[in-house]
């Protein structure tokens, strides 16, 4: 994964009514209610290389977010809410590379995420982390609409006291050759509640590179023994292992601090 930090960080906070605005990097338009489904809709167009931080602070419980990406960008999403229904739609054009780093701290969420890789060489690196306390359902659809497109999707969740379900489907139609479609899903389930991962690859083409992994379980006993053998207590070892699991791969300093605070709140 190649990471570049762009000079300008554009920040969008959804804590009150958002007005349309445009700058040289992004265009943001907000419709309070879309015509058909009575759901507010936020549209973001990325026109220049940029870092974009999207903060959802729980003021809105239903929203559709359309992100059209016309240029390389890093998108950081920090979502805090009690109860939320949300749909993200990413359209990645102009052979752009988009890195998404996302952290959810929610009680109950139904989230849909559709990625359309719409031009040759479009590339998404998606890293999602969550600490589940009640009920979280995620449904991903990754459409490889053009040749040589790349999707690397990582979902890491720690189930503290709830139930977490992830369904992820990658589609590569006929004649869309040279694509890479990877899904890496792991839930550390610290409860006896049922968690589920359903990874699907729908591939109608020979010349592709596709992998999927799904793992639900507790931390390895040997890892715990190793940490304990250095005098680290069970709770501190859990804290350390969760930090390693959840912080690994995340980039934004503010989000990292927030995750660290959440982990210390639950496991200390």
């Amino acid at each position: 994964m190649s990471l570049r930090k762009w000079l300008v960080m554009n920040k969008i906070v959804l804590d009150k009514e958002l007005k349309d605005y445009t700058n040289s990097d992004i265009e943001v338009s907000y419709q309070k209610q879309s015509d058909l489904l009575n759901i507010p809709c936020l549209s973001i167009k990325v026109n220049n290389k940029t870092d974009l931080l999207l903060e959802l602070n729980g003021y809105i419980d239903k929203i559709n977010i359309d992100i059209v990406i016309n240029c390389d960008c890093n998108i950081y999403i920090d979502c805090t809410s009690d109860d939320m229904k949300i749909k993200y739609h990413y359209s990645i054009n102009n052979s752009s590379k988009c890195n998404v780093y996302k952290y959810n701290q929610v009680n109950h969420i139904n989230e849909m995420c559709v990625v359309d890789l719409d031009s040759i060489g479009s590339d998404i690196e998606y890293i999602f982390k969550s600490i589940c306390t009640y009920k979280e359902n995620y449904d991903y659809v990754i459409n490889h609409n053009c040749q040589n497109t790349i999707s690397n999707i990582t979902n890491n969740g720690v189930n503290k006291s709830g139930a977490m379900n992830i369904q992820i489907s990658g589609y590569i139609p006929k004649n869309i050759i040279g694509c890479t479609c990877n899904q890496n899903n792991r839930i550390i389930n610290l409860t006896n509640n049922k968690c589920e991962i359903r990874p699907n690859l729908y591939i109608d083409c020979d010349d592709v590179n596709a992998n999927h992994s799904a793992l639900i379980g507790k931390f390895d006993d040997n890892e715990m023994f190793y940490l304990n053998s250095r005098g680290i207590s069970e709770i501190d070892a859990t804290n350390l292992l969760i930090k390693g699991f959840i912080l690994n791969g995340m980039e934004n300093e503010d989000i990292l601090k927030k995750i660290t605070k959440d982990i210390d709140k639950y496991w200390r």
């Binding site: 006993d221 023994f225 190793y226 005098g231 350390l240 390693g244 699991f245």
Partner: protein, 262 residues
């Protein structure tokens, strides 16, 4: 004076008895070496001393400074000052060496933990062990070679300053230079802190640097022969097979004698 005393210890895993009526006493200032064929329970012994839950203690006791540690958890045993340098140190993704060590030492030192002192000592020990400085900020043992992992175990030993050290095949995966560094580091630590050390090894080469005060041969879960450093040469020349044949009956006697002393 710190003493680790193992009495009549029998241990099983998955209903198979691995260690039988095992007796051993290690005091401060002593270096005990246990040698023996593969699968005789040497590594199991170190893990049982450390409190690995995968093993079931059938009978016997393990005491550290006259207090039984059998019911203590692994972290409680470690905080008493027992350290296990593992044969195959684990790779833990995302947990950096620095975070791991800081957590371990701040747990041990509680309110006395001083970050600046910790960083200074860590830097010094990394240099002493000729390790790459960037390893400290990498994931725990992540992408480390076999030798780097073993050096990392010794680094942890130096930082945690245990009283009783168990080293399980610390020489495996080490090249000649690294073996010398690790061997000398263990000896330097021993001299500085008058620690008690139990070394599990297959090869005499480590003992060119670590000079044992006691050598034991272990077979079928028990000590079959004990002696001084000269026993290592005997094993090197004759191997375990000949040695075991020679000492099988004697071995039983040794164990019985130790039991009767109890």
């Amino acid at each position: 004076m710190d003493t680790l005393k193992i009495t009549n210890l029998s241990v099983s895993v998955d209903d198979k008895v691995i260690i039988k009526d095992f007796n051993l006493e290690i005091k401060s200032g002593e270096i005990h070496v246990i040698m023996g064929p593969n699968g005789t329970g040497k590594s199991t012994l170190t893990k049982v001393i450390m409190g690995d839950k995968n093993y079931q203690v059938l009978k016997g006791d393990i005491k550290f400074n006259d207090k039984s540690i059998k019911e203590l958890t692994t972290d409680e045993r470690a905080r008493l000052g027992i350290f296990l340098g593992m044969q195959s140190p684990l790779e833990i993704e995302g947990v950096t060496n620095a975070d791991f060590l800081r957590t371990a030492i701040s747990t041990k030192e509680q309110d006395n933990f001083k970050l600046f002192e910790f960083i200074k000592e860590l830097d010094k020990t990394v240099d002493y062990l000729k390790m790459n400085k960037d390893m400290i900020h990498r994931g725990l043992n992540q992408g480390f070679s076999g030798g780097e992992r073993k050096k990392n175990e010794i680094l942890q030993m130096y930082m945690l300053k245990p009283k009783c050290i168990l080293l399980d095949e610390i020489d495996s995966g080490l090249d000649v230079d690294s073996l010398k560094i690790v061997g000398n580091a263990v000896m330097d630590y021993y001299k500085e802190y008058n620690a008690s050390i139990l070394v599990i090894t297959h090869y005499q080469r480590l003992l060119n640097y670590i000079k044992p005060t006691h050598v034991h041969v272990m077979n079928n879960g028990t000590i079959v022969k004990s002696g001084g450093a000269e026993l290592v040469k005997e094993i090197e020349q004759n191997g375990y097979v000949k040695n075991n044949k020679k000492v099988e009956s004697l071995g039983t006697c040794v164990v019985k004698e130790m039991v009767s002393h109890e």
